[in-house]
């Protein structure tokens, strides 16, 4: 069995793990370990997935012990660790050396201060067999290690798995005269929901005729019920979005780039992830802009808004390559 460690807040770690697990589980059993507050929503959308959900509100020490217990009970032949080489609470540090498994690190961007203070370069070199960088720009800290391999971005859907446009129109409840909308993806942490609600209100105030939808786990208080969608994965809906407003986390930036849909990104402060850096890099290569104030985001979204829809995307899902790389490494 492959065990994918995907602890961490928000949607991102789990979504990336699901992208990998969806491909990997075709040929072997895969289990995903998470403490995301959104785990039950994702598990409901992916019933074939084996997900172990830890309480996101549990005390750190309880979570550390639970992680160690799950690894001991699972006895994986391959442990894939997302983002945090030592575990998000350092709980893997004493485990990896004793674990008889192929150890793979998924190297999303990491705060260089943490990399230095925790001695991660030395730790990864000593404890991991393979480091995978899921897309250019993510592997700035450990990308030069000899065990590192980069792939194209990992996405939770491959291009041929995306739903057709009529199904998306129905999910978004678009009127017959609207082919596309402004899609506000209110992901991230719950305390950031108000910002997205303010963007929605500002768009409505600036142009009441522009169709706008908010996709989120929880409806922002200021968002009209008929414009609020609870749906995962949001990238399914981008086929009817002429512009997306969101954060600058790994998934939304990569998904928008894959679709070729403009992103108005609000980089949120994170302890480990440098969203501002990712947003700036995205802006250099794709149709992405940065906005900090809700009003600025609303104006930018309206500038990008057209009633046309993006062309069907033709991206290559890096998760397929990643599974192939891990499998090949294990067979050598």
């Amino acid at each position: 069995m492959w065990l994918i460690y995907a602890l961490g807040g928000g949607w991102g770690h789990l979504t990336r793990a699901v992208a990998l697990a969806s491909v990997a589980q075709v040929d072997r059993p895969v289990r995903v370990l998470t403490n995301s507050a959104y785990a039950s929503l994702i598990a409901a959308a992916m019933p074939a997935l084996d997900v172990v959900m830890l309480n996101p509100c549990a005390q750190a020490e309880l979570t550390r012990r639970a992680v160690q217990r799950v690894i001991a009970e699972c006895r994986p032949e391959c442990l894939v660790v997302d983002t945090f080489p030592r575990g998000i609470g350092g709980e893997l540090a004493g485990v990896l050396g004793r674990l008889d498994a192929t150890k793979v690190l998924v190297h999303r961007d990491l705060n260089p201060r943490y990399v230095t203070s925790a001695g991660l370069r030395e730790f990864v070199t000593a404890n991991y067999d393979l480091v995978l960088v899921p897309g250019a720009g993510e592997g700035l800290e450990l990308g030069d290690l000899p065990i590192t391999v980069a792939t194209t971005p990992w996405l939770v859907r491959s291009a041929d798995q995306l739903p057709d446009r009529s199904a998306v129109r129905s999910v978004l409840r678009l009127s017959p005269c609207d082919d596309a909308c402004i899609l506000v993806c209110a992901s991230g942490n719950k305390d950031e929901l108000d910002w997205y609600g303010a963007v929605y209100s500002a768009i409505r105030e600036l142009n009441g005729a522009a169709p706008v939808r908010v996709v989120s786990a929880e409806r922002p208080p200021s968002c009209a019920e008929e414009h609020s969608i609870c749906y995962w994965p949001a990238m399914d809906l981008f086929g009817c979005a002429s512009v997306v407003v969101g954060g600058a986390g790994y998934n939304i930036v990569r998904e928008c780039a894959a679709w070729g849909v403009p992103l108005v990104a609000k980089p949120w402060p994170r302890m480990y992830d440098r969203q501002e850096l990712r947003a700036r890099n995205a802006g250099a290569h794709a149709r992405s802009t940065i906005a900090h104030a809700p009003e600025a985001a609303a104006k930018s979204a309206l500038e990008h808004f057209e009633r046309s829809v993006p062309e069907p995307p033709r991206f290559v899902n890096g998760a397929i390559d990643a599974v192939r790389l891990v499998a090949r490494f294990r067979s050598n």
Binding site: L7, G8, G9, G10, G12, H13, N35, A37, P56, A58, A60, T63, R64, R86, G87, I88, G89, G90, N111, R113, Y114, T116, S117, A118, G119, R121, E122, G249, R270, M271, Y272, D273
Partner: protein, 106 residues
Amino acid sequence: MTPPLPPGWKCTRRVGFLFPHDCQRTTPVGCPDCQNGAIDDPYRSCSDRYGYDYYDDYDNSYFLGYAYPLVAGPDVPYDSSMEFTEADGADLVKPDEEFENDMTGS
């Protein structure tokens, strides 16, 4: 003896005269704060203040009546709560990031 250091190593101990901050030296050899890496956190045990033995000796007699009017204005009476204490340091620096403590970080 100091063990070999990896390339790009920077000291993560806290140092400082009044307020703690990252050391960032590239070697502990000859470091007056950690004494060649012998002290884990020099700030915790720092007592000499680099020889400024009277750094906190600024009572009325020291300033001869000049300092307080300059700070508080001529009509404001002296109040001992206006003095800096060691505890003020914590308010004047950004606290160290506490990595690996927040299990919902990202």
